[in-house]
Each structure stands twice: as structure tokens, then as C-alpha cells.
């Protein structure tokens, strides 16, 4: 493939050239620190992309490496030359995905369900049930699912009367796998005097479809979500997943013409709740804070404030590995990739267990899913909570 043919990436070619291969990014990359393979380091990937753009290497080989990137963005914070690494890798993942092996039946099924969220709502509990009764064999890591919460998100969860109107964009994990987080967010919003609305017809944010190279699906989801959300009357659009917020602000405006308006009202739920004047009780329990990759600095500060975490226990080098453990869009599992994900997940669990904390807090449902899964797998008595859930305890208990 020539530079001309991959024009969507060519806008970043200048940025690619500004990478001086100093390696500062590598010391922050959780995947590289795990594998110690130069190809996994951000500077190694930049190098490979340049090889690819100059037709010096097979695209499929680069695609395999790029897929191991979690897009956590830690490399970008370390880059002294301000190379927009996350954007480059997201775009590259999207462009290179078509050179990968043909997608399997799970890819098609996932696409089918992404278009039909109501069926997807039914599919996840069904999958969990089938796994439990051993009627369905899935990858070992995925079979270790935490027990499903009994609560299911419904439109009846909305509150009413008074205060600012907020729409809660739950994202797929909080909607289906960990619906108690979504429920607690609604309760938290109500308790600070807001009218929380949850639109059942909202869909996946599309970020994982995009990074899997399915730009058409990402565009479809962006348009549908914009349509649904713009039909509502509200003041703020709140997300409880940093990946969703990133998609709303950066991805949707590229595919849906009215998404800009929507993006201007979108914000992280932690920042929103922290701005409300609420008296909070001190936290007595030792709490481990895991900082999600896409959470911005001020959002992370807000989340820590809500959870009452004083010290940044997790220095930010650990990654939950969820992005690698659970293949986005249900593509065929790549063993090496899943292995790295599982190992990162276990490393995080070990760090939490070693800290002696009885509760772990994060602000991302993906991280929480990984944490819950690893605690379940290791038989730990550690509670994994969303920062909003920790906040709720501090105002209600």
C-alpha cells in the first residue's frame, strides 16, 4: 500500500516524522513493559508505520503489532515532542484492520447485535448463563466473568422533577455487564438534585468498532446515537466511561453532522458530580485507586475527590489489559494478544492485593470489569467500585 492509498493516515505523516525515537514513550507503555519487545513500544510502532508508508514492510505484519496497542495514551503524556501518538495509533488500527485475517462469525454476530441494542441486551445474560451451565465454550479468560448483577437498566430508571436535566450515556459495559454501576450513577445524580434520563435506544459509542477498522459501523453508531440524543431535552450529556466520552467528542463529529452540538454538552460524570456542592464523609477504608487510561487529569482528580482517595496508589504504570483481553467487535481471538491482556490484568490484581486495600476504585467500567474478573478468579475479598459508587456511599451511609 502506498502513501497515496492510505491518505487518511497521511495527515499524520508529518507528526510521524517528528518522532525522534528517543524512547521516552516506551518507559510508559504497559504493553512494552510487559513484553519488552521493541515492536510493542510506541516508538517501535511509529518506526513500523514509517516502514509501511514507504512500502518496506507487509501491512499485515504491522497490523498484528498495532492491534496489541491498548490506546491508553500514556505514551503521549511522556512524549517530549508532543507527537499525537494515540490519534496516530487509533487511525492506524483503523486503516490496517482490513489487512488482518478475515473476520469470523463472531465479528458478524457482533455487528448484527451492535445494530440491534435490544437483542444485545438479551444476548449478554444469555451468554453468561450458557457459559455457566457449560453449554457454551469461550476463551478461558472470558469465562471467568464476575457474577451478573440482578439489576437491569431500563428506561424506568429515569428520575424526575427539578434540577438540571442530564442524560446518562452508560456505554456497553455498564449497560450490560455491570448494570449496577449505571443504576448507582442514576441514584447519585438524583441525590445531587438532577433529573437523570437514560435513553434505552442509545447504542455503543463505536470506538472499538472504529479501532477494529469498521469505520462504517462506527459512523452508523455515531449517527444513530446523535439522532436519539438530539431528540431529548437536556442540559448535560454525562458519561461514566472515558472511552465513550472520547468517542463522543472526537469520533462522532466526524461522522454525524449534529454531533458537535452534542459534544459541547458532554462531560465526564465525575467532573459533573464534583462540581455539585455536596458534603462528603471521610473514607476510613484503605482504598486502591486505579487510574483509567483515557481519563484526563482533571477528571481523574474529580474521581479521586468523589471516592475520597487521598494518595495516588496506582502510579499509572499498570494497565487493566481489558482492551486486549476482550476482543472488540468479537474478532477472532489472537492468542498472544489475549495473553498480554490477561497478564496485565493479573499484574494489576497483584498490585492491588499487595497494597492490602479492601476496596479498589476506578472511573472506567472496562477497568472495573477486569478488576472484578481477576478478583473473582483469585478468590479475593476485594470490592471493585466505580468512583460514583464510592461517592454514593459517602453521601448515603
Amino acid at each position: 500500500m502506498s502513501v497515496k492509498e492510505c491518505s487518511p493516515l497521511s495527515s499524520q505523516i508529518k507528526a510521524l516524522a517528528s518522532c525522534g525515537q528517543c524512547g521516552a514513550c516506551a518507559s510508559e507503555c504497559p504493553v512494552f513493559l510487559h513484553s519488552r519487545d521493541k515492536a510493542d513500544s510506541p516508538s517501535g510502532k511509529i518506526n513500523l508505520l514509517q516502514y509501511w508508508l514507504e512500502n518496506r514492510i507487509d501491512a499485515a505484519a504491522v497490523a498484528r503489532v498495532l492491534r496489541r496497542c491498548t490506546l491508553c495514551g500514556r505514551c503521549e503524556t511522556a512524549c517530549p515532542s508532543d507527537v499525537p501518538l494515540t490519534e496516530i495509533f487509533r487511525e492506524a488500527q483503523n486503516r490496517l484492520a482490513r489487512f488482518e485475517n478475515p473476520k469470523g462469525i463472531s465479528f458478524a454476530l457482533n455487528r448484527f447485535l451492535l445494530k440491534r441494542p435490544f437483542l444485545a441486551d438479551l444476548f449478554v445474560p444469555l451468554e453468561a448463563l450458557l457459559v455457566r451451565v457449560k453449554a457454551l465454550r469461550v476463551e478461558q479468560d472470558r469465562s471467568q466473568l464476575p457474577p451478573m448483577a440482578s439489576f437491569r437498566m431500563t428506561e424506568r430508571a429515569k428520575t424526575a422533577k427539578g434540577g438540571p436535566k442530564v442524560v446518562l450515556f452508560t456505554g456497553c459495559i455498564a449497560r450490560r455487564r455491570l448494570p449496577d454501576i449505571a443504576r448507582d450513577c442514576v441514584v447519585a445524580l438524583s441525590s445531587v438534585g438532577c433529573q437523570a434520563i437514560w435513553a434505552k435506544s442509545q447504542r455503543c459509542c463505536g470506538s472499538s468498532s472504529y479501532s477494529r477498522g469498521d469505520a462504517r459501523m462506527a459512523a452508523f453508531l455515531a449517527r444513530k446515537n446523535t439522532e436519539v440524543l438530539n431528540a431529548l431535552d437536556y442540559d448535560y450529556l454525562l458519561t461514566l466511561c472515558p472511552a465513550c466520552l472520547s468517542a463522543i467528542c472526537n469520533l462522532w463529529p466526524r461522522f454525524a453532522k449534529d454531533a458537535e452540538k452534542l459534544a459541547s454538552r458532554a462531560m465526564d460524570i465525575n467532573s459533573f458530580l464534583a462540581s455539585r456542592q455536596v458534603t462528603l464523609k471521610p473514607v476510613e477504608q484503605k482504598t486502591y485507586w486505579h487510574e483509567p487510561c483515557l481519563l484526563k487529569k482533571e477528571e481523574a482528580e474529580a474521581a479521586r475527590y468523589l471516592a475520597g482517595v487521598e494518595v495516588l496508589a496506582d502510579f499509572g504504570r499498570s494497565c487493566c489489559g481489558e482492551h486486549l483481553t476482550t476482543p472488540p467487535c468479537g474478532a477472532e481471538e489472537e492468542k498472544g494478544r489475549a495473553k498480554i491482556g490477561a497478564s496485565l490484568e493479573q499484574n494489576l490484581r497483584d498490585a492491588i492485593a499487595a497494597s492490602g486495600a479492601r476496596q479498589a476504585v476506578s472511573a472506567c467500567p472496562h477497568c472495573l470489569l477486569a478488576m472484578k474478573r481477576s478478583f473473582h478468579k483469585n478468590g479475593d475479598q476485594i470490592v471493585a467500585q466505580h468512583s460514583v459508587q464510592a461517592f454514593l456511599k459517602r453521601i448515603t451511609s
Partner: protein
């Protein structure tokens, strides 16, 4: 080639010939400018014996071998052609022994500085090794280039007690250094210093025993800004020459500070002291007085500046491909003369100079911005200046031609013959480097 790969896999199962894994090891600029091809495979041995067998196999087959530690890109001698391998030390990453009583650590070459520091700090000790990339820099890599330790302690070579290397002939050598613990009976010549700093040209460092220090009871620092570069350089010189040597002393010129988006305008100086409570407090008070005497202003947040300087090092290094950047070292007492000279040379050539460095070891890294040809001329003048000041010129960033020029002009033929003789003894087939 398939047979060779098969045989290599038999020797060391950790082998990858994946196109991406191999290409990622060779910077694209080398492929473009020098036609360097990716290696045929990246081999990751897990034991000393595997390294030994691999080298022997490469000697037999005439295959070149280059060692990579943390992948910080310090390979300077890239092989031409296809028949070459990269030996990754990533899996030789075990700490063999941590002897708290005798304050020493024995570790494999692939152990990172971060891993070593974590292990020793848990025992109330410190390794005193430092790198901007300490999460990925390996002990083996640092020993191969005899990397500076924390400024007060010189270089990693000063901490070396024992070394296990595999020579270019595929022989395992266990060698001691002069630093071996007193009383130890060294049955051989202290050969370790020959390999430490040889950039992997003579042998592959596989394991090392390093001396450790007790963790200091107090660590404290300062951060200051100066109106002129010269005032900062002179204050730095005097602080470095004071009775109590700082653990670290870092300096950044105003342009360097601007490039790194510092909020301070002016030359910056950061220092850290470690030691006994009373002596450390006295030392920092003295440093603060010197700063004020040189019209400097003391600022808070020394920790922030440390991060800033780490970033500046990485930034200027990242620019080394586009601009001229090398490291000049002179005796400590001549640091401010060097800074003044570098500024003047840059000015004479109409170039902008950004530099930072460690005044306590009088080490300065210079980046020249502007016309490439003029930069080369200025570079030569800075080189000459460093020699006039009884200093030297490092080849930290792969500018082999500078080193060659230096060798030809300033090393006598006996020394050169001796060095070639050493190469002939340890790597007669040139498996580990072309020269």
C-alpha cells in the same frame, strides 16, 4: 536461511523472524540513509549457555550479531547485508542474588535499572544508577557504555565488581574488576573494565555483580533560575566544586528551558543532596548562598524540575537526528568556560544553541539549531575547545564519524594497535561489530 533459523530455534527457542518484530529494531532513517536491512531474526536467549551456543553458531556460519538491551537505540555499528541477528537480552532479567550484608547485587544483563532500584530500596540500599529511561534501561546496556551513575558517583563502572561475558569467540569469561571487595582473592587479572564501556564490541555482557550503597538518611534538593547562562554555569561550577558533592546537579540553558515549555525564563539549575542530616542541611544552605550570590532566585517544586529535566534530555536526544547534538566533558573547574565557549561558537556561526548537562561531572549536551553545514563546523570547534580544556568528546548518540575523527587525530598508533589487538583476541571474526 530457513535451515539457519531452524538451527537457531533449536539453540534458543525464543526466536522471532516476524517482519514487524525485526523491522522495529532498525530505525527507518538507517534504512533510508544507509540501506540497513532488518535482521533475519530477533533471538531472545534465556540462559548464559544459550548465548554461548548462539555466538559459536554465528561464528561458524559467519552471521553478524548485535546485542540490544532496553532498546534505547545505542547500537552504532549496524551491519550491512541480510545475514545478521539481534540478540535481545529481555529474558535474561533475573536478579540472582542480593547480598545485603556485603552490599552487592548479582543480576543478569536484562534487569532494568527500575527493577534493580526497587529490589535494593526494599532492603534499605541504593544502587545510585540513573537514566531518564530507567524503566527500560538495562544493567547490561549501562555497563556496555559505562553509563554515568548518579553524578556524585561517577559511572556504573565504579560499582562493578564482577562480570560474566560471552566473547565474540563464544567463550564464557568470568572476570573481576578492581572494585572487588577487599580481601577477595582474585585469581585473574581484573579484565572487567575492558568490557565495561566497550559498547559490546568485545563481548556480550550477560551477568554482573554491582556494589551497592546504604540508602541516605536525608535527600533534599533545590531549584533555581538565573538571569544569564553564564551566571548559572558559574554557580553550578562552584556548587560542584564545594566540599560536599551533590548527588545530582543539572543545568539547562534558557533556550533549552523554552523548548521544554518551562514557565521560567532564564537558565535553570536543579540539585539534589543526599547523606547525613546535618551535613546535607549544611551543604544545601551553602548551595543556596552561592545561588543568591550569582543573582539566582530560588524556586520551589524541585521534584517538578527533575521531571522537566528528564523530559529535556529526552527532547534534545529526540532532536539529535535532525540537529547536531553531542556530549562534551571537561574538568569540573572549567565548566563555565566551556559554556561560555559553546555560546560564543554558536553565535559566531549564527546558530542557536540549546544545552543542558550535569555540571558536577562537567558534562554538557549541546544541540545546535540552524544551517546544517555551519552546525558541523561549529561542532568541530566545540570538539577542539573541549580538548583545549583538557576534556573529551563523547559519542553518545551514534555519530560514529566524530569518534573516528577523534581516534585518528588524538590516539597514538600504539594505543590504536593495542585496541585492535584486544579486538583480535576477543572477537577475531568480527561477529559483534564490523571493525
Amino acid at each position: 536461511m530457513k535451515t539457519i533459523l531452524k538451527e537457531l530455534a533449536r539453540i534458543a527457542p525464543g526466536i522471532s523472524s516476524d517482519a514487524a518484530v525485526c523491522a522495529a529494531r532498525v530505525p527507518i532513517r538507517l534504512a533510508r540513509e544507509q540501506g540497513i536491512l532488518p535482521p533475519v531474526a530477533v533471538v531472545t536467549p534465556t540462559s548464559l549457555q544459550q548465548v554461548e551456543k548462539l555466538v559459536k553458531f554465528c561464528v561458524k556460519e559467519g552471521i553478524s550479531l548485535r546485542v540490544q538491551g532496553g532498546g534505547t537505540g545505542k547500537i552504532t555499528d549496524w551491519p550491512k547485508g541480510e545475514r545478521w541477528l539481534i540478540l535481545s537480552m529481555a529474558s535474561l532479567d533475573r536478579i540472582i542474588d542480593l547480598d545485603v550484608e556485603n552490599r552487592s547485587i548479582t543480576a543478569q544483563a536484562g534487569v532494568t535499572l527500575a527493577k534493580m532500584e526497587k529490589a535494593v530500596s526494599e532492603k534499605g540500599l541504593m544502587a545510585a544508577q540513573i537514566s531518564t529511561l530507567h524503566q527500560i534501561s538495562t544493567i547490561g546496556g549501562c555497563l556496555a557504555v559505562n553509563r554515568p551513575a548518579q553524578a556524585r558517583y561517577g559511572s556504573i563502572g565504579n560499582f562493578l565488581e564482577k562480570l560474566t561475558v560471552v566473547t565474540g569467540k563464544g567463550e564464557i569469561l568470568e572476570c573481576a574488576s578492581q572494585n572487588e571487595a577487599p580481601g577477595a582473592q582474585t585469581p585473574v587479572y581484573p579484565l572487567a573494565p575492558i568490557f565495561c564501556g566497550s559498547a559490546g564490541n568485545l563481548g556480550i555482557i550477560c551477568q554482573a555483580r554491582l556494589r551497592l550503597l546504604p540508602a541516605p538518611p536525608l535527600r533534599t534538593g533545590f531549584f533555581a533560575v538565573f538571569p544569564t547562562t553564564l551566571a548559572a554555569a558559574d554557580a553550578a561550577r562552584m556548587i560542584a566544586l564545594a566540599m560536599f558533592t551533590p548527588l545530582e546537579l543539572e543545568f539547562a540553558s534558557p533556550l533549552c528551558a523554552t523548548l521544554i515549555k518551562s514557565q521560567q525564563s532564564g537558565a535553570l539549575l536543579w540539585g539534589e543532596y543526599a547523606g547525613g542530616v546535618a551535613e546535607t542541611a549544611a551543604a544545601i544552605a551553602k548551595a543556596q548562598k552561592l545561588i543568591l550570590d550569582h543573582d539566582g532566585a530560588l524556586l520551589g517544586d524541585a521534584e517538578h524540575f527533575k521531571t522537566f529535566l528528564e523530559k529535556s534530555a529526552a527532547f534534545l536526544e529526540s532532536r539529535s537526528r535532525s540537529y547536531l547534538l553531542e556530549t562534551v566533558t571537561v574538568p569540573c573547574s572549567r565548566f563555565s568556560t566551556l559554556v561560555e565557549g559553546v555560546e560564543r561558537i554558536a553565535q559566531d556561526h549564527g546558530l542557536e544553541a540549546a544545552f543542558f548537562g550535569s555540571p558536577s561531572i562537567a558534562r554538557l549536551q549541546v544541540a545546535l539549531f540552524g544551517n546544517s553545514e555551519l552546525s558541523h563546523q561549529a561542532d568541530a570547534e566545540i570538539f577542539t575547545l573541549s580538548l583545549i580544556l583538557n576534556g573529551t568528546y563523547h559519542d553518545d548518540h551514534g555519530r560514529v564519524q566524530s569518534r573516528e575523527a577523534w581516534l585518528a587525530s588524538f590516539k597514538n598508533s600504539e594505543e590504536e594497535t593495542l585496541q585492535r589487538g584486544l579486538k583480535e583476541i576477543f572477537d577475531p571474526e568480527g561477529v559483534l561489530s564490523c571493525r
